[in-house]
Assembly symmetry: C3
Homo-oligomer: 253 residues x 3
């Protein structure tokens, strides 16, 4: 794989987003390879838990805006396929947020079983500033984790959330000093991998089964909402401002 | 309008409950005019966010008990109409709780997108002490925000909840020093109003759409529960004690 | 009753798990008698609130593993009957967790209306270490109270949770110094018992009615999951290790 680095240690598999020069932005290729990685981890019987993290100083800058205009890559799974692969992943899924997470780099936290954040990491959902809307089922995962008010502010106002705020909001289970993040996450993953996989799968299934229908329904509604906004006046103004290196002006929009 | 003062500043509309001598109690007229205000803010395209607050030292003492006996006013919308107007309001709705909130002055916090409380404000749900039950869909909004245990205690035990407790419980997003409440809420509302309204509406819709059916169903069940208790032995004892300026005696009830 | 000690004080009934030498483990007889006690408290009109606590230093060690092999007792209600009796109990149900709670001694906290924990108490869900899975609808009550991430860790990783952590997670409403636990819980129960029972029942019903279908569905799914795991390789290894007083080895399982 070109964009995902995979390594196994005991029953713990680590997937590392490996586009550090692009701040691990989710390109079409990265989404396909990450989807394949989740599917492979699912069917590989020696894998008992998966850690996802990012190479370099960022966790992920989110969707690859550079690529958006070009569209040369034809995705096999796409974002919808990635979302399905994560929602269907039956084993423990730990997230090690090693640095900034933006867009899907933030909303993916709502899909993980256990999120560990480096103390210096922070998250942002810039959807409104792009004239767009929230994704990755975050409109249901975030309210369930942090309450509707905090979720609505985080998803609508496009402000940064520090690691400490993420922990307080329940979006992160633990905040860890930056240098100790990976050792702590590996320690926790190893605890899970020492337990019977059938029990872990059964308990995760019992927790997730009642939630999945709404997660899928909201993800579909988010896609429809996104499609309605893409190319609209606010989205065009946001992209124009981005190209012209000026602040967007949404007055009247 | 007689009971609601409306003012616009940029895209932010402020609705002020304006019955300070009655501690902004919800009379029939106030409920109708507040309903009209939400409907007007909805259809007025220049309004991008709404702040609701109270004039004077209280936010709202809740239902107007003085008016209850008389019933001279024939409501056009009533409480059910107000609840619908708030549930259907598609734009950001910020609440500035400037002082005490009792009954619907407390439960309305569960319906707002963002609640800001003055440090000296506090809330109470006195339903049990009146021989009645909870309203405004609070039997579903409160458990979702603060967990079932805290919600059940707040709704059943009729004790005061301080601003700090409300923030800890997720019922308030922020506690602000009393003198700075309105400037802080206006600052946050202005941030939202600077963003594209279509994105705000879309994201709010995605968050609220999955919740609305249960909110409406619970509000109806609450109304049925209220109707079953109104005029019953405990409610009669509560009203008699109120008239006779003595403590109610619910032993055996 | 042999395993439950019942005492009334005003409108407050206290049920005490009374197998202190077995750390109040849930034997078949205890489950039947506790079921009967909830049914009796339900129909006894003078009872306005129920406190459940444990005799001795433990709250409850959970399912009676000693009894599991023998099966001499033929249960009348069983665990499913107990769960129904608690889910259907219409009056306030306070839990006084006086010491350690393991298994159902921990998951029952998700079913109570109000949980008070002694500062020295702690909880653990050892299901994975037994090759089993979670029960008592905890796969839905725990995520709703504490968010999915904390719930998944608590239910899957089999680690202890301190009283302070339980309060922070919303699983306990209050932590009380050990010596003051019962006086505090009685004080809170007496506040509720001084209010009209019809209001308490109505408000609890409004809170619980929307939650019950999923609670029952999850409890059934948990039972099916448990049945699938009982006697499986991990469960057999766990029981063998228990008998042989060694650590279980789940590698490859």
């Amino acid at each position: 794989m070109e964009t995902i680095r995979i390594s196994d240690d005991g029953g713990v598999r680590t997937l590392e987003l490996n586009r550090p020069d692009a701040l691990n932005a989710f390109s079409g290729l990265l989404m396909d390879e990450l989807t394949d990685a989740f599917i492979d981890a699912r069917v590989t019987t020696t894998v008992k838990a998966v850690i996802l993290t990012g190479a370099g100083r960022a966790f992920s800058a989110g969707a690859d805006l550079q690529e958006m205009g070009r569209n040369s890559y034809r995705p096999r799974h796409g974002f919808a396929g990635l979302l399905d692969a994560i929602l269907d992943f039956p084993k423990p899924f730990l997230l090690a947020v090693n640095g900034l997470g933006v867009g899907v780099g933030a909303t993916i936290c709502g899909l993980a079983d256990f999120v560990y954040m480096a103390a210096g990491a922070r998250l942002r959902c810039p959807f409104s500033t792009l004239g767009l809307t929230a994704e990755a089922a975050s409109t249901v995962t975030f309210p369930q984790l942090m309450g509707r008010q905090r979720a609505a502010w985080f998803l609508m106002a496009a402000e940064w959330m520090s690691a400490a705020e993420c922990k307080d909001a329940g979006l992160a289970l633990e905040v860890v000093p930056d240098a100790m993040l990976m050792s702590r996450v590996r320690e926790q993953a190893a605890k899970l991998a020492a337990l019977p996989l059938a029990s872990l799968i059964q308990t995760k299934s019992l927790i997730m089964d009642p939630l999945r229908p709404q997660l899928r329904e909201s993800a579909q509604a988010e896609n429809a909402g996104l499609a309605a906004l893409l190319g609209g006046p606010a989205n065009r103004e946001a992209l124009a401002a981005f190209r012209e290196k000026r602040a967007a002006d949404f007055s009247g929009l």
